[in-house]
Amino acid sequence: MADRQVSLAEKRLMDVKLNQLGAWLGGRDFTPNGILSAIRRGHDRYYNKYINVKKGGIGGVAMLLVGYVAISYLWEYDHIKHDRWRKYH
């Protein structure tokens, strides 16, 4: 069955061809409202897939927390690297 024809700016990222990537980025909405709605859509996708299920376990929240730890590490890397390089503590 043929896919529905959509304009370039509305295509999903996985459907965009490599040489169309620049044009696709130019067509996206980078206003604050656009960014907020993108964050909300991403959050809804994650929430409905992992947390809003009938027998959700600890996995959904645990993935979020591990992601938070990873982001915190990245944020503090410039500060933490000195602890690892130091010879005497």
Binding site: V53, L65, Y68, V69, W75, H89
Partner: protein
């Protein structure tokens, strides 16, 4: 570069955004809104149970006028307990270790309870400054003491939370450093230190929850006196 155990309490900046911004907005993401469905998912059910239980516990002794504060105190409790518990994860930043944040919570809320008391029932509120049954000679001294005690409340609220959390984090860092450094030298001692570290972490989890609870409980008590 000087070594300082207090570096963990500095909020590092990345791309111009301090980590405290992410740490403060994380509790918002973790608690989804209850839907209009009859049966929600497990996370929302747990969350709803906890909030109901806590609110019932805190607001049972309060008179009806104090029940207006239910939303505020329940959300404050959730916020504090999430911030404290998230701070125990590795590499995360705990905003409640900053005195400025805790004073920003304590002072306006305490001041609100005092002003509500003074406006609605000034005699009764002022009457709290003198406990019943004091000997006549002691009255002036006691009034001064009770006034000082009244004004020190916001300071105590803020500093209590800050000090408990900061001390806990510092201890964890110190003992972890000790265990880590001892490992190549004396493995047995290092294992003992690791056991101590484990017990300390359990204590910190408890302290995190208790401190948030105490904060909100004391506020509700101050409210109860005044409303």
């Amino acid at each position: 570069m000087t070594l300082s155990f207090f570096d963990q309490f500095m909020s590092p900046t990345y791309l111009g955004i301090p980590l405290i911004a992410l740490a403060l907005s994380l509790p918002w993401i973790l608690y989804p809104k209850p839907t209009t469905r009859w049966l929600n998912n497990r996370l929302i059910t747990l969350q709803g149970w906890f909030i109901n239980r806590f609110t019932q516990q805190i607001f049972q002794p309060l008179s009806l006028g104090g029940h207006k504060w239910a939303t505020l105190l329940a959300s404050l409790m959730l916020f504090l307990i999430t911030l404290n518990m998230l701070g125990l994860l590795p590499y995360t930043f705990t905003p409640t270790t900053q005195l400025s944040l805790n004073m920003a919570f304590a002072v306006p809320l305490w001041l609100a309870t005092v002003i509500i008391g003074m406006r609605n029932q000034p005699t009764h509120a002022l009457g709290h400054l003198l406990p019943e049954g004091t000997p006549t000679l002691l009255i002036p001294v006691l009034i001064i003491i009770e006034t000082i005690s009244l004004f020190i409340r916001p300071l105590a609220l803020g500093v209590r939370l800050t000090a408990n959390l900061t001390a806990g984090h510092l201890l964890i860092q110190l003992i972890a450093t000790a265990a880590f450094v001892l490992l190549p030298l004396m493995p047995t001692v290092a294992i003992l230190t690791a056991v101590l570290l484990f017990l300390l972490t359990l204590l910190e989890v408890a302290v995190a929850m208790i401190q948030a609870y105490v904060f909100v409980l004391l506020l509700s008590l101050y409210l109860q006196e005044n409303v």
